[in-house]
């Protein structure tokens, strides 16, 4: 097999530059193959030849097979570089599978063969326009992975283009490409920053993590770009992928440190010890100091909290450091448990976590005290972990736990691990130092260790004892004496030096010991190690000052030995020269002060954690782990004394809202989508996040959280600045409205992120056909809701307003004044759930006026059941919209709520009346009929104490003063089931203290509101709800199309879609009552009936399909 043979085609293919590359790679290939597996040598070459011919063949199948083989070889680590030209040719292949494989190959080899790779670039540019998002993404990835400086402009263009791509996956890849391009050509920074700014606006979880990563590598100092996206990032946090979470948390920590006021201001100012702080804090309520946490600051902490439950140690660590650096001290406690959980991970994780805990615990010891036992050393721990744990135990030890700790330490000392035992003794010293109560005990314990068998233990004990004795030398005279006696027996230099120093320092306390110790030390001087020699000289000097009579000669001897010592340190020791001076008997200036210099009182050493000094590093960072600044480390700035203007984080529309608060009625068309935009930055995206997950309870729990945050913000808003106050009020005011449009948005979000921009911009700039289709629909659905919210409010605000519908004939979107006043008339009927029929019937006169554009069915319904006319008037029947219409059919079926036997004569039934409820369009209206079947009058019938799942709501309670025997009364009750199928439980009570717990079980078909759409629209919607949002079930029975419609309408409150084509196919559309999510039902009648349900709520899908199926059988 000659190499020349297969170089031929490559030479054809690349006119320049390749010649030098190719032989090198091929020979490398040959060599490696022969070394690893000689018999394969020939086979490999043959394979390459074969592969080439396969790649050159005209059949896609063969090419695909060849590419698979090549990628297989790449995956196995075999060099396939020589196939490069043959593979590159196939980059133009039409087959997407081949294309993908070629891309994979290029990512691997493009960097090695840059010149050849250039040939493929035009294909990538084409690939960037491929309809398949995976191809687009990988084209971009490969393009950005080719490190050829000349193509930087092309990359820039490609990135710019991909940033506006429809697919979030492609945008994510674009974000990844940014740092690659930045490292290739740093001069493009400005342009890249612009791109990042654009990407930061993205609303999808997929992109968020990656773009923050790009931000951190390219322009971490441009914190101003974060302002507008801050709230969004906080809200998306939970749903971002793990590594993205780490990135975002770290970035937001930095952000928070620059933008918010220090939550621990008081403490810093007072600079009191930790225990003290705690008490003081309790005494001083926050208001006194005037510190209120910025709602955004709170938002970050709140949203980061659930991440402590992540399985990824990096995420938990990230949140922990966030809380450490940003949270108020009293909230810090929640991170303790998760951190301790991490200790069960790998040794490497343990080491990092422990070193961080060590740093934290040096500062906030009380936090970890309850978990002390988690830091006990296991026999399987490696030494570095043991040392870290010891450090933490010593940090954490408090008065209550000290005795168990000391017992534990005693066991550790006998460990065969010398380093560990020594560290334990040091830890004992630290504990003794910090807790004065046990200093004595520890000291005695350590003294007993002096007779320990192990030399090391003794030596270390001496060193620690020396330090401890320095604390209270006077009281421990006898101990010093005892230690001094050890001077001959101890051989470890450090220990011996310590003893000598101790004797010298406290020679006045043990006057008899000094000369004797010195004598022995002098005797052995030449054999000692340097440190002991130094201390001997020191001791001699000190003694001669205090007791010249006995020691002068000895001192002379020692000094003369030292003078000729080999070690220049000892020779030149200032002490020796100093002594040399005054020992000659002359009174020099120095000798006068000799005593002061040598025997000056020295401060006791402070024994503290080795991790204390790491406190200034950002926790969890590499710099913290190695305790020196790593490249790219960005120090956390201190909290600003005066926090910057918080309004910078408001999305533009906020301020707009504030200004036009008065005018909003006139501008309502615009403000609607503004509102949704604005709100999504507070809680909206949260909703969307988990809706995307397709969770059945998604919007339930999420919207609850949305409310929560709203509440919280409201509370805080009260104490914050006026400006914020105003904002909060606005929020409160428009809370309902915003919530509605918000959920509407979440539905579309997955397809169209661009829509987030303000609506003016939207209509002007966005021209894609898809968008155009979406926008009107959205506004159409959302607006009536606005009306609903608005009217509910206005009715509450001005209950006495007169009923004067002005422009009922023209259903204009701007017609708010008229609309307000109409519904303002309903206050009579709004609380009127409880006084049914009689008073409510007064209203229809006014409201039918307005309801002229109502559909025929509705009108028929209104007249046929007068009892319902009161509540059929509510705004949510929407004369405005073409889409949500009133019920096409109302089932007659009633359900028992309370049996007349159990109810002692009171029978209660309910019936889904398929009207919108008067107070909120989200509520499902239910007619509840109370019937007195007994013989006596029942009085004081009430409903109350509802037990509802979170997110569910019930309208005001029923209160029937009296119900005479044999009569019945119907009351409309509204329940917002929050798009779940949870039962609404409540109690019915009858006057003399009787209570009956009852529950209303929602039927899936009743949680809908019919929507009238065109067939095209229906199909467009359906196309978006595929995959897991689709439920297909089959019925083996054939159903005649004629009988189909009544059956379906009986179980589901949907509207049939007018069909033009196939007659055996029927379509129905509706929206869910709370979330306004479209629900689409398609029934195909053939030999067997096929039922297809599309809805974002998967529970709806399956339950509705089931219900329809049952109705058809």
């Amino acid at each position: 097999m000659s190499t020349g043979g297969y170089q031929g085609p490559t030479a054809d293919f690349t006119p320049t530059g390749f010649g030098s590359d190719s032989p090198e790679t091929s020979s490398r290939n040959g060599a490696s193959a022969s070394v690893i597996n000689p018999p394969l040598f020939a086979a490999d070459y043959k394979r390459h030849e074969d592969l080439k011919s396969m790649l050159d063949s005209s059949k896609d199948g063969q090419k695909r097979e060849a590419m698979k083989l090549i990628i297989g070889m790449v995956a196995k680590g075999k060099d396939c570089a020589d196939l490069f030209p043959a593979v590159v040719k196939n980059v133009v292949s039409k087959d997407s599978e081949i294309k993908k494989l070629v891309y994979v190959y290029l990512v691997r080899y493009a960097e090695e063969q840059q010149d050849l790779a250039l040939l493929s670039i035009s294909t990538f540019q084409k690939g960037l326009k491929d309809p398949n998002q995976l191809i687009r993404a990988s084209a971009l990835r490969v393009l950005s992975s080719i490190r050829v400086p000349i193509i930087a402009p092309i990359m820039m263009l490609a990135i710019k283009e991909s940033v506006t791509d429809m697919s979030p996956f492609v945008r994510k890849t674009a974000a990844h490409a940014i740092p690659k391009l930045f490292s290739l050509d740093p001069e493009l920074k400005d342009e890249l920053v612009e791109v990042i700014e654009k990407l930061l606006k993205d609303q999808t979880t997929l992109v968020a993590g990656s773009v923050v990563m790009a931000f951190e590598t390219v322009c971490p100092d441009r914190i101003d770009m974060i302002h507008k996206n801050y709230r969004k990032l906080c809200n998306l946090l939970v749903d971002v992928d793990e590594w993205g979470q780490v990135m975002i948390i770290n970035m937001l920590t930095r952000y928070a440190r620059t933008q918010f006021a220090n939550p621990n201001q008081e403490e810093v100012a007072e600079d009191a010890p930790f225990y003290g702080e705690k008490k003081k804090k309790k005494k001083k309520p926050k208001k006194k100091k005037g510190y209120t946490m910025d709602p955004d600051h709170r938002l970050l902490l709140k949203n980061a909290k659930p991440l402590l439950q992540s399985r990824n140690a990096a995420v938990v660590m990230g949140v922990a450091q966030l809380y450490h650096h940003v949270a108020p001290r009293n909230e810090f406690g929640i991170i303790v448990k998760p951190l301790i959980r991490l200790l069960k991970g790998h040794v490497e994780t343990q080491a990092i976590v422990l070193s961080n805990i060590a740093t934290i615990s040096a500062d906030r010891c009380a936090m970890f005290e309850p978990y002390l036992k988690s830091f006990y050393i296991h026999s399987s721990d490696p030494t570095n972990i043991r040392l870290l744990k010891l450090d933490i135990i010593a940090n954490v030890a408090g008065e209550s736990s000290i005795h168990t700790i000391l017992r534990e330490f005693r066991t550790y000392i006998s460990s065969p691990d010398k380093q560990f035992a020594a560290a334990t003794i040091e830890a004992i010293g630290r504990v003794a130092c910090s807790i004065s109560e046990v200093t004595e005990t520890c000291l005695h314990g350590l003294m007993s260790l002096l007779s320990h068998k192990s030399e090391n233990v003794v030596a270390q004990s001496v060193v620690v004892i020396k330090k401890l004795l320095q604390l209270h030398p006077k009281q421990n005279k006898d101990l010093i004496d005892q230690v001094a006696r050890l001077a001959d027996s101890v051989t470890v230099p450090m220990a011996k030096a310590s003893i000598l120093w101790l004797v010298g320092e406290y020679c006045s306390l043990v006057p008899k010991m000094g000369p004797d110790v010195l004598r022995k030390a002098a005797k052995n001087f030449v054999n000692e190690s340097d440190i002991v020699k130094l201390q001997t000289v020191n001791l001699a000097a000190k003694l001669v000052l205090s007791n010249p009579k006995q020691t002068r000669l000895l001192c002379d001897y020692v000094l003369s030995l030292a003078k000729y010592d080999q070690n220049y340190d000892i020779r030149d020791n200032p002490v020796s020269s100093l002594n040399g001076l005054f020992l000659q008997g002359e009174e020099t200036a120095l000798s006068k002060y000799a005593k002061k210099i040598l025997l000056a009182p020295k401060p006791a050493p402070v024994l503290e954690s080795a991790f204390k000094d790491r406190i200034h590093w950002q926790l969890g960072s590499l710099s913290h782990a190695v305790n020196s600044e790593a490249t790219g480390y960005m120090a956390l700035s201190d909290f600003p004394a005066e926090p910057p203007d918080p309004s910078v984080r408001n999305v533009e529309d906020d301020s707009w809202w504030g200004k036009t608060k008065e005018k909003k009625k006139n501008l309502h068309g615009d403000s609607d989508s503004e509102a949704s935009n604005f709100y999504s930055s507070i809680s909206g995206s949260d909703v969307s996040g988990s809706d995307n997950e397709g969770s059945e309870e998604g919007s339930g729990s999420e919207s609850e959280s949305g409310e929560e945050s709203e509440e919280e913000e409201e509370e805080e808003g009260e104490t914050s600045s006026d400006e914020e106050d105003a904002l909060e009020k606005l929020k409160k005011r428009f809370g309902k409205k915003i919530e509605v449009s918000d959920s509407e948005e979440s539905e579309e979000e997955s397809e169209e992120e661009e829509e987030e921009e303000s609506s003016e911009e939207e209509s002007e700039t966005e021209t894609s056909s898809d968008e155009e289709e979406e926008t009107p629909r959205r506004s159409a659905i959302a607006k009536p809701k606005v009306a609903a919210g608005k009217t509910a409010k206005s009715s509450a605000l001005k209950p006495t307003a007169a009923a004067s519908p002005r422009r009922s004939e023209e259903p204009s979107l701007l017609d708010f004044d008229g609309w307000d006043s109409v519904t303002a008339s309903t206050p009579n009927s709004a609380p009127l759930n409880s006084y049914p029929i009689s008073t409510a019937t007064a209203v229809p006169g006014a409201s039918t006026n307005l309801l002229q554009p109502l559909t025929n069915q509705m009108a028929a319904l209104a007249t046929s059941s007068p009892s319902s006319s009161a509540s059929s008037a509510p705004p949510s029947t929407k004369p405005f919209t073409q889409e949500i219409i009133s019920a096409v059919h109302t089932p007659k079926k009633t359900y028992d709520l309370l049996n007349r036997i159990t109810g002692n004569g009171l029978a209660v039934t309910y019936h889904f009346c398929r009207r919108s409820h008067i107070t909120s369009s989200k509520m499902v209206a239910i007619d509840v009929t109370f019937q007195n079947c007994g013989d006596s009058t029942l009085s004081g019938i009430r409903t109350g104490s509802p037990q509802l799942q979170s997110g569910m709501r019930m309208s005001s309670d029923v209160n029937i003063k009296a119900l005479t025997a044999g009569t019945s009364q119907t009351v409309t009750v509204g329940i917002d089931f929050n798009d779940t199928l949870q039962p609404a439980k409540f109690e019915i009570s009858v006057a003399p203290g009787k209570r009956y717990p009852v529950q209303i079980d929602p039927l899936v078909g009743e949680l809908l509101r019919p929507m009238s759409v065109s067939e095209d629209k229906f199909m467009a919607l359906k196309d978006k709800l595929t995959g897991m949002h689709e439920n297909i079930s089959k019925l083996s029975v054939a159903v005649s199309p004629a009988s189909l419609q009544p059956a379906v309408l009986e179980v589901a409150n949907m509207a049939p879609v007018a069909t033009t084509t196939k007659s055996n196919m029927q379509r129905y559309a509706a929206v869910t009552s709370t979330g306004n999510l479209p629900v689409l039902l398609t029934i195909v009648c053939a030999e067997d009936t096929k039922i297809v349900v599309n809805c974002e709520k998967m529970v709806f899908n399956s339950m509705l399909a089931k219900a329809v199926k049952e109705s058809l059988v």
Partner: protein
């Protein structure tokens, strides 16, 4: 999978979809069909990345729809010389193996969720639901995965099912030891895979362990005596004794620490119990619930 150093996909299911892990069956198939090892590489990119549930691959289909949940608890205990328990910690995890078609939405509830106060979840679990209702609601990944892990500390009275009484005596250049093992409160369960590891002090040069049951062995490199007992017999008297040779003059400062491992199946120390598992969102009938 990394892109320019940034983790792109770390979910094992996604990675397995990209490159299938080698298995015996597959290698047999390859040998027979002569397809060579290359079919291990999937030719399609994982579509899961694009969806909102990146951990689950799309288009899963099984004939038998089943999911296995293994509740595994590990007990870490430190016992001092006198036999008192100093620390007892329970770490548990639920290891699941999902073999369910389509996009099932599962809800797992516990009899006593209060036990779990510090938990970490697989990303598929919905935090909010756990916070509010203490049930695990999730769309599982396909195949084996760890659903959650938890830690229960300060378990005050963990009844250990066995006892170990060691006796060591070192004098001069030699020593003797005897270790007895026997069952305590086993609660009717079988204690399996009992294994004792005794790391000897560094001055020990050789150990000759013998035992009444099982085969103890001494590894001179790591200086450890390992005694694999296997199933703990209730009737038999089990002890290991032996003599120790040491470099003369040195006596170990303390007795060695003994590490004991054992396994009990069908028992959760913490008492955590799964009450039910509901499947929503898919039509199929689970093979076994």
């Amino acid at each position: 999978m990394l892109d320019n150093g940034y983790p792109l996909a770390t979910e094992s299911n996604v990675l397995k979809e990209l490159i299938k892990p080698p298995s015996l069956v597959r290698s047999v198939v390859h040998t027979i069909t002569g397809e060579s090892k290359l079919a291990n590489v999937s030719s399609t990119l994982p579509t899961g990345q694009l969806s909102n549930v990146p951990w689950r691959r799309t288009g899963v289909k099984y004939a038998n729809n089943e999911i296995f949940l293994d509740l595994i608890e590990e007990l870490d205990v430190i016992i001092d010389k006198s036999g008192t328990t100093i620390v007892a910690e329970v770490q548990g995890k639920i290891q699941a193996n999902s073999r369910l078609s389509g996009m099932p939405d599962l809800t797992l509830s516990f009899m006593n969720p209060r036990l779990l106060d510090d938990v970490s979840f697989h990303p598929c679990v919905r935090y909010k639901r756990w916070e509010s209702e203490r049930v695990l609601s999730f769309i599982p990944p396909d195949g084996p995965f760890r659903l959650l892990s938890y830690q229960i500390s300060s378990q005050s009275n963990v009844a250990l099912p066995l006892y170990v009484t060691p006796q060591f005596s070192f004098s001069g250049g030699s020593g003797k030891f005897e270790v007895k093992v026997g069952p305590k409160q086993t609660m009717g369960k079988v204690v399996e895979d009992v294994k004792l590891v005794v790391p000897m002090p560094s001055c020990v040069t050789n150990v000759n362990p013998t035992s009444t049951y099982g085969m103890p062995s001494y590894d001179p490199v790591s200086r450890t005596v390992t005694w694999n007992i296997g199933k703990l017999q209730t009737q038999k008297y089990m002890s290991m004794n032996g003599s120790v040779t040491m470099t003369s003059g040195e006596a170990p400062e303390s007795n060695p620490t003994i590490m004991v491992e054992f396994k009990i199946s069908q028992l959760a120390v913490s008492g955590l119990k799964v009450s039910r598992l509901d499947i929503y969102g898919e039509k199929f009938k689970p093979f076994k619930e």
